[in-house]
């Protein structure tokens, strides 16, 4: 495993063309009429098409803020964000499925809002449910599904959107460890099958190392990019494996260093 800064990984998902899924240039965000310390300060980040990037940082360092900016739920105070292609999909920690619709209809709504004609929606929704291995769940109500199943439906709904970019904001943080492990495997499989670009936010170092091709460590107050690691342990990785553990130790030390700086300041 290498720990170079910003070096392209030699895997097949590395774009042949020098395009980007999303490009952030000097993005700064200050809440409350532009005064006070910025939450994000001069973020430069480019995600290649098909790349899987984990954004790692302590709670409150601005990870969600950054995803909201990319998803166009909020505007940066300065700097530019370019997303190539359609509106990116965003998955929240809370599944955010609509409880008045069935699992299948949640996905069909995403397809409808994307402009897929009515007669094709049902089949496409079922296909997406198959992809997350919930083939029989079309008619299930959200409250009838377990936490893990809800997040899989939420993933299927996100994949129903046209955008190539998938933003995930700590989507597995509320799940038990066994379910989370399984969903890591699923996400890796689905990412490989669909070729989406993923920006996955987490405060869990092992989760980041388990999933990502590139881990980006953020510092807090102001949120800046502190360091990056490129990870070339082959997928599917196991979260318990030595490779993942060793790199996690190193990244954790860095993260703690970042957090300690605030105690001294």
């Amino acid at each position: 495993m290498t720990q170079t800064i910003s070096e392209a990984t030699p895997t097949a998902t590395t774009p042949v063309e020098t395009g980007f899924a999303v490009r952030l240039d000097q993005v700064t965000k200050v809440f409350g009429r532009g005064r006070g310390t910025p939450v994000l300060d001069g973020i430069d980040l480019t995600v290649a098409p098909g790349e899987f990037v984990c954004l790692l940082g302590a709670s409150g360092c601005g990870k969600s803020t950054l995803l909201n900016l990319i998803a166009d739920l909020d505007r940066p105070t300065s700097g530019t964000i370019e997303v190539s292609g359609d509106r990116p999909a965003l998955m929240f920690q809370d599944h955010a499925l609509f409880p008045w619709l069935t699992a299948g209809k949640n996905i069909e709504l995403a397809l409808k809002l994307r402009g897929v004609p009515r007669d094709r929606r049902r089949a496409e929704a079922d296909e997406l449910l198959e992809l997350v291995r919930l083939g029989g769940a079309h008619k299930k109500r959200v409250h009838e599904l377990s936490g893990g199943m809800r997040q899989r439906v939420a993933l299927a709904r996100a994949l129903a959107q046209a955008g190539d970019l998938l933003l995930m904001d700590e989507p597995f943080a509320a799940l038990d460890a066994i379910t989370r492990d399984v969903l890591h495997d699923e996400l890796t499989r689905i990412w490989a099958e669909t070729g989406r670009s993923v920006v996955f936010v987490t405060h869990n170092v092992r989760e980041a190392v388990r999933l990502a091709q590139r881990v980006v460590l953020m510092s807090s107050r102001p949120g800046r990019i502190a360091r990056e690691w490129t990870i070339d342990i082959p997928q599917p990785r196991r979260i318990e494996s030595t490779g993942v553990s060793e790199l996690s130790v190193e990244i954790t030390d860095q993260l703690r260093g970042e957090i300690r700086r605030h105690g001294r300041a």
């Binding site: 998803a71 709504l109 997406l128 377990s146 499989r189």
Partner: protein
């Protein structure tokens, strides 16, 4: 489209036998997890429902009738003021044999339903606007809440003077009673929408009217239905007040007029017949229309308490 694009494969995941095995393993593991966390909610048998839901109100009604009968036998009030249940039933049968019961009921009920529907048509957009446009909310929000607590019978005299003794006056009173309830219910429903749903809707591309139709209205449905239910109660109440006070040849004869007629004749059984019919219509509509709708809305969302 989001269909699996199998051409882009990470070299880490090949299709050799070991991986195939791991793949099946994962599917099996996931099926196991899903099965462990799923459960079927059992339905109560019909006999239990009958016992728990139907029996108590029947007993309560029988008790009331018994107390009434005893009070009548003991002549707590003079007989002309407190007739027996049998007398009231006879008075009802007289109306029934005249064949006027359905006419009277229908006159009132059709007014009530039409008034309610107009109130829905006005109250819904009004509620949407008040909930979403802050300066309109600041301007008329308090008035709307205030109107809700104003007994609509207070509108009868001015309405009669504005519109005359006719249906317009009656509908005006019904609307003034029901519209604020419906609008306020929707406002409360919209205020209670978790912001996450609105954000999720925006991420999916729902803006403007799409957002209203696909996210805001369905998300606010529990509050909206509660508002509709209250709106119906207010419609019916206002209608009865209006019919009772504003009697006139142009107004036909509904339940309120029946009551008024009973008062003119000093016919207590007739008045009580009218009271019970008003009560039964009010309860009946609520039980047959609003309670099932409310339960459906809550059950769909997994919010129904297992009552």
């Amino acid at each position: 489209m989001a269909a699996p694009d199998l051409t882009k494969t990470d070299p880490g995941i090949g299709a050799d036998a070991a991986d195939k095995h791991a793949e099946e393993d994962l599917a099996g593991l996931e099926a196991g997890l899903d099965a462990l966390e799923s459960y079927e909610r059992e339905r109560k048998p019909f006999s239990r429902v009958l016992l728990e839901k139907v029996l108590p109100p029947v007993i309560a009604i029988l008790l009331v009738l018994a107390v009434w009968q005893i009070a009548y036998s003991m002549e707590v009030k003079p007989r002309y003021a407190l007739p027996s249940p049998q007398d009231v039933w006879d008075a009802f049968m007289v109306q029934w044999k005249k064949g006027t019961v359905f006419d009277i009921l229908w006159t009132s009920l059709s007014r009530g339903i039409l008034g309610f529907l107009i109130a829905v048509a006005i109250g819904t957009p009004l509620g949407l606007i008040v909930a979403r446009v802050s300066w309109i909310r600041a301007a008329i929000g308090p008035i709307l809440s205030g109107l809700q607590s104003l007994p609509s019978v207070a509108w009868v005299p001015p309405a009669v003077i504005w519109f005359g003794l006719n249906n317009s006056a009656i509908y005006a009173v019904v609307l003034l009673g029901a519209v604020p309830s419906i609008a306020n219910g929707l406002v409360a429903g919209i205020d209670q929408i978790p912001p996450l749903y609105l954000r999720a809707g925006r991420v999916l591309g729902a803006r403007g009217l799409n957002s209203v139709w696909h996210v805001m209205l369905p998300a606010s449905l529990p509050g909206y239905v509660a508002g509709l239910k209250q709106g119906w109660a207010f419609s019916w109440r206002s209608l009865m007040a209006a019919e009772l006070i504003a009697a006139g040849p142009e107004l036909g004869s509904g339940l309120g007029q029946l009551m008024d007629q009973g008062r003119d004749l000093g016919d207590m059984p007739m008045m009580l017949t009218a009271v019970f019919m008003i009560l039964i219509v009010g309860i009946g509509i609520e039980m047959l229309v609003f309670t099932p709708v409310e339960r459906l809305v809550l059950r769909q969302r997994g919010l129904a308490t297992s009552k």
